[in-house]
């Protein structure tokens, strides 16, 4: 097509033309909305009227002074707790499935299965499992003799609902973490283990001194995903409980979406989004700091 042009000219043409549309997409649907969001957060725009009255820092003041808004973070806490447990279980299964074992491929395939399942379908599936009167979880508990637990209203009890929902997240994503941990275990050179064996290290010592330290970067990545995932939970409670009972399972992002699209308070919702973004950046920075202090990377 432009075979006659010098390669230097071609290079410029290719760089510009190949990046033009992709960067335009990135700018239009990621960075422009983010900038708009910052602007909206200083207004009390209702989402449709042409004027966007400037209110300065009022929205931010509202977020920090209205206890109803920050209170929902206590609901997100359940996802954080379950996320930590999820990572521990995932590391355990990754170590088990990296040892000599029959049928480990089949086990890996089964444990990863929930990750590829449709989130809405999974939410309703658990809606049925958790159902108080017809639900199979209570029936199962009754069958194995835990009669006193079998009357539990898993999604209707205030202190419990977030843990029930978070355990659904655990069910869906444990396999994902596990597969990533398995890959990081495979990347550890085998001769380190042989050397350790020659030096007479026991299997627990090997795990503690060699395996886990070598997995550190991946563990930190997964922890970052866990923490930000917990901050940004949305679809499960949105689909399954609509935030109920009486708002007990409403998460922060759900509150943002509701503030914008149900209450038409785009200004406040934007300020809430910016604060969320701010938290994500803080988590990232804290982790980088810890990672760098840890030394070896």
């Amino acid at each position: 097509m432009f075979g006659t042009l010098s390669y230097n000219k071609q290079k410029t043409i290719i760089i510009v033309s190949f990046l033009l549309i992709p960067l335009l997409l990135l700018a239009t649907f990621t960075y422009y909305p983010a900038i708009k969001l910052v602007y909206y957060s200083f207004t009390n725009w209702d989402g449709y009227s042409p004027e966007k009255p400037w209110v300065g820092l009022d929205n931010y003041r509202e977020v920090f002074s209205n206890p109803d808004i920050f209170k929902v973070f206590t609901h997100n806490f359940a996802y954080f707790v379950m996320g930590i447990v999820q990572n521990i279980v995932a590391i355990y299964f990754a170590v088990v499935l990296s040892s000599r074992l029959r049928g480990k491929n089949a086990f890996r395939i089964m444990l990863f299965l929930p990750y590829i399942m449709n989130g809405v379908a999974v939410a309703f599936m658990f809606g049925y499992v958790f159902d108080t009167t017809n639900g199979s979880l209570n029936l199962f508990l009754d069958n194995i003799g835990l009669h006193h637990l079998a009357q539990t209203s898993w999604l209707g009890t205030e202190g419990l609902v977030n843990y029930s929902l978070a355990s659904t997240g655990f069910w869906r994503f444990m396999g994902y973490n596990m597969v990533i941990y398995i890959a990081s275990l495979q990347a550890i050179p085998k001769d380190i283990y042989e050397a350790a064996k020659i030096d007479g290290a026991g299997s627990f010592q090997t795990l503690w001194r060699i395996t886990l330290p070598n997995m550190k970067p991946v563990i930190q990545l997964n922890l970052f995903l866990t923490v930000t995932g917990a901050l940004e939970v949305f679809d499960l409670p949105f689909v399954l409980t609509k935030g109920g009972p009486a708002g007990a399972s409403q998460t922060y992002v759900q509150k943002v979406v509701e503030t914008a699209f149900a209450f038409n308070n785009y200004g406040l919702a934007s300020a809430m989004s910016i604060i969320l973004l701010f938290f994500v950046v803080i988590v990232l920075l804290v982790q980088q700091l810890v990672l760098n202090r840890g030394g070896d990377k």
Binding site: I21, A34, F112, V256
Partner: protein, 277 residues
């Protein structure tokens, strides 16, 4: 002694793995057995009992007729095909430029993709919504398509790993023969990226198929339902009729589960390559 100890460790391993598999399979099992029960049978039998017959497809027909699931599959298929064609094109183009040329703004371009991942996309929809409306894409299949086609950083990293493994000699010998850089992209780089493309096609198909929020927000129109939004509507209308909902859940889970069992190698590759690097 040592022998017995190893046996015990193995027992613990298998025991915990079996508990894991049981926990994974218990909810789908419940959905499967109840999807085949008539309403009478559902009300009279235990929710964990097997159905009288696995040949009772009444619930499934009802889901297709009442729920309009077929149009949902159709819509999501159209979205997936158009999105993936453009996304793979753009993804390989960006990766070719970043992988083969050095220029001043290269770190900025890569950084822009990297930073984009920390912006919580659900909350920025507050601002994206207005953009989509102004473009006239609200309530059209165009809305999810333009939002999905952009390349993401994982995709670019995956492609860059592959490009690094394509020897530069290939480019050079093509240049000696007088091939243009565009021709090198089209007939050397793009074809040699096929394994990565295959992995990405599978992963992105699954993630678009499973996405709920974007179709929910941008395509509320009845005729534009995709599988997730149709399932939500269906559950709303038929709430309490769990045997019907179980059939709907099963129908929606089936395509990705089948895809997974046949193509799991690619899926594992894609999931791990982005994260471990």
């Amino acid at each position: 002694m040592a022998h017995n100890k190893f046996r015990f460790v193995d027992f613990i391993k298998y025991f915990t793995l079996l508990i894991g598999v049981f926990v994974v399979l218990f909810p789908p099992y419940v959905v499967i057995v109840n999807a085949f029960k008539s309403t009478d049978e559902f009300n009279s039998s235990s929710s964990m009992a097997l159905p009288k017959s696995f040949l009772n497809f009444d619930n499934f027909t009802a889901v297709f007729q009442r729920g309009g699931l077929l149009s949902g599959f159709g819509n999501v298929l159209v979205i997936i095909i158009i999105t993936l064609t453009l996304n793979i094109l753009f993804g390989t183009m960006v990766a070719y430029v970043l992988g083969r040329f050095s220029f001043k703004l290269k770190p900025v371009v890569f950084g822009a993709y990297l930073v984009a991942t920390i912006i919580p996309s659900i909350t920025t929809q507050v601002a994206t919504f207005g953009i989509i409306k102004n473009m006239g894409l609200y309530n059209t299949l165009g809305a999810p398509i333009v939002l999905y086609i952009g390349a993401d950083v994982i995709q670019i990293i995956l492609y860059l790993q592959f490009i690094r493994n394509i020897p530069f000699d290939l480019d050079e010998s093509a240049m000696v023969e007088g091939a243009s850089l565009f021709k090198i992209y089209r007939s050397i780089i793009f074809p040699l990226l096929t394994p990565a493309t295959a992995t990405l096609v599978i992963l992105k198909t699954i993630s678009i198929y499973n996405d709920m929020y974007i179709p929910y927000l941008y395509m509320p129109k009845q005729s534009l339902g995709v599988v997730t939004t149709i399932l939500m509507r269906f559950q709303g209308v038929n709430s309490g009729e769990w045997n019907l909902i179980c059939a709907a859940i099963l129908l929606i889970l089936l395509p990705t589960v089948i895809l997974y069992f046949f193509l799991q190698r690619y899926i594992f590759e894609g999931v791990t390559s982005g994260a471990v690097k």
